[in-house]
Amino acid sequence: MLSRLPAGALKNVSSTLGARSTVAANVARNGLRVRHASTKSSASSAFESFLNSRATLAGATVAAVGSVAWYAHLYGSLPFIGEVHANSPAEEGLHSPSYPWSHKGLLDTFDHASIRRGYQVYREVCAACHSLDRIAWRNMVGVSHTADEAKAMAEEVEYEDGPNDQGEMFQRPGKLADYMPPPYPNEEAARAGNGGALPPDLSLIVKARHGGPDYIYALLTGYCDPPAGFEIRDGMNYNPYFPGNAISMARVLFDGLVEYDDGTPATTSQMAKDVVTFLNWASEPEHDERKKIGLKAVILFSALTAISLYVKRHKWSYIKSRKIVYTPPTDLKKH
């Protein structure tokens, strides 16, 4: 790829550079002949040709790289340097497993029934502490709820509006254009209600955490007793997936906590899966459309790449098939 020149190119160049004398060219030519001779005179020529073959080279490389890859796959770390950790797992939190999300594949959309169930979990459980500032009621129309359902849900919430003709603020029922109401009026109130910790806004939580949906799911379902010797402050909870392992949020999801409209059994893992799918939608509402346009873009540009390759080959065909002839000067003295 880097240069399509044959192995003899070096020889040729040295002969051009040393055009004044033919010494360099002779040296190179002799060197080549010597190497051929030694290869042939060897007693174990079959073994040598085996060692010199490209297949052996490729095989040895594949074996070396493959065994490193196999080791890394088996033990989850590189050989020899795998033990080096500047950051302990406790500092960064346990790496979350990879879960088989229904929207994970390149052509997969969100499971919209799951988004709807997940909204129910958010509304009945998470919304007690966590806001969802960037999601308006209108965003849910056609995604998880019908327009009428979304309108009805919005109307259950009173919003302050105004000022009216008299210059006074007034309360009115919510509209589709209103955003989800926050549980606390301001950050200070949120901290006061949660022992000094601020429950983060969830609108972007899946994109704002390393590991995305896998991390949120692992965190929600990963609460357990701290290992022996792990000191945990009062009011904090142990969670191996949280960086530092001590999190202010307690475990919130327990089996049967909500009753799903569609009759799905509300186990802890089911609720965690649904709410993470919902939050993933909240972070990436363009997700389904994005993947659809993505496939169109791949079709378009792979076709254009293929066509342009054909055109390029066509245009270049006569250059690629040209013949270069070097006629050496017959009279060297004149040269």
Binding site: L5, R20, V27, K207, A208, V311
Partner: protein, 383 residues
């Protein structure tokens, strides 16, 4: 005579992208120039549309970006494209520079082309850094705080300079506003520099893999090289589409989806991936001022290559030891990228220091010594 060759402006275009003679033997590694021009065009185009919706205000910047992502028609596609093309811009510019290093494109008579190229690289990095600040997430704010604070290491007037850049005694709204203004300005400066790069290149034409003159074997830009460039441009669009539509946040940092909070420092502050090698060099030097000098020096040291590469042969095609040295340099650059993304603890600091030392030694010792050795051996061989 055709209008293309008669009209003043069209004649200029004709001489650059239609009739311009190119060496017949340049490989696909010579396609990065047109890819970089495509990137710059894409960035300016998407950037103009983003600027129509973006609000450079510390309270509204993050929200306005989310407004683009959620409410503006196809705004997410425009923003993801802008963010990811920035990454490809750097992939291509590093490949373009690597090509130049391997084939000795910096050597006379193309020294000025190379020098303008280094200036383009520095301006590009400044532009990318300014742009990363604009979404105003946690990494935007804290990355910008770290980088602007670097200038305070300059003796005598460093602190005054930082306050001049901030437009206040700390990071504030005026800073974000001017960063937006400069981020809009610099791409046009880049475009002008790129044209200067082209004009200078045009004087002697492109280098080629053999490193020897190609005047006897050249073909016109159109149709041969325009169609060759088109292949990689469409291939780039294909890869870009896969990233933008399927892995849009692959090359970003999750912390930048947390709104900037001056009261809370993130666990680790890292720049965008393409600045990591230079960030690693900065952190490898224990002294702040020397670290800053080393960081800027690591870019500007590219300028001395035409002087330190004393070999009589241009390029590495016929120089096996230079090939080896080149790949060592590439590996060193990758190691520095990795070190820049790690916490500054043992053993990363030590690895980073060795890699930094190698980086500078490569330019100052390895390249000149190899050239001298080759020249000497050739003199001996040709008596």
């Amino acid at each position: 005579m055709r209008l293309l060759k008669k009209q003043v402006l069209l004649r200029f275009i004709n001489s650059y992208v239609v009739d311009s003679p190119q060496p017949a033997n340049i490989s696909y590694l010579w396609n990065f120039g047109s890819l970089l021009a495509t990137c710059l065009g894409l960035q300016i185009l998407t950037g103009i549309f983003l600027a129509m919706h973006y609000i450079p205000n510390v309270d509204l910047a993050f929200t306005s970006v989310e407004h683009i992502m959620r409410d503006v028609n196809n705004g997410w596609a425009v923003r993801y494209t802008h963010a990811n093309v920035a990454s490809f811009f750097f992939i291509f510019v590093y490949a373009h520079i690597a090509r130049g290093l391997y084939y000795g494109s910096y050597k006379s008579p193309r020294v000025l082309v190379w020098a303008i190229g280094v200036i383009i690289l520095v301006v590009m990095m400044a532009t990318a850094f300014l742009g990363y600040v604009l979404p105003y997430g946690q990494m935007s704010l804290w990355g910008a705080t770290v980088i602007t604070n670097l200038l305070s290491a300059i003796p005598f007037f460093g602190q005054d300079l930082v306050e001049l850049i901030w437009g206040g005694y700390s990071w504030n709204n005026a800073t974000l506003n001017r960063f937006f203004s400069l981020h809009y300005l610099l791409p046009f400066l880049l475009a002008a520099l790129a044209i200067a790069h082209l004009i200078l290149l045009h004087t002697h034409g492109s280098n080629n893999p053999n490193g020897i003159g190609s005047t006897t074997d050249r073909y016109s830009m159109h149709p041969y090289f325009t169609f060759k460039d088109l292949v990689t441009i469409f291939l780039f669009f294909l890869v870009l589409s896969i990233i933008v539509f399927y892995y849009p946040n692959l090359m970003g940092h999750s912390d930048n989806y947390i709104p900037a909070n001056p009261m809370q420092t993130p666990a680790s502050i890292v720049p965008e991936w393409y600045l990591l090698p230079f960030y690693a060099i900065l952190r490898s030097i224990p002294n702040k001022l020397l670290g800053v000098i080393a960081m800027f020096g690591s870019l500007l040291i590219l300028l001395i290559l035409p002087l330190t590469d004393v070999s009589r042969i241009r390029g590495s095609t016929f120089r096996p030891f230079m090939k080896l040295a080149f790949w060592f340099f590439v590996v060193d650059f990758i190691i520095l990228t990795w070190i820049g993304s790690q916490h500054p603890n043992t053993p990363f600091v030590e690895i980073g220091q060795i890699a930094t030392a190698f980086y500078f030694l490569w330019f100052l010792v390895i390249v000149p010594v190899l050239g001298l050795a080759e020249n000497t051996l050739m003199d001996i061989a040709t008596e």
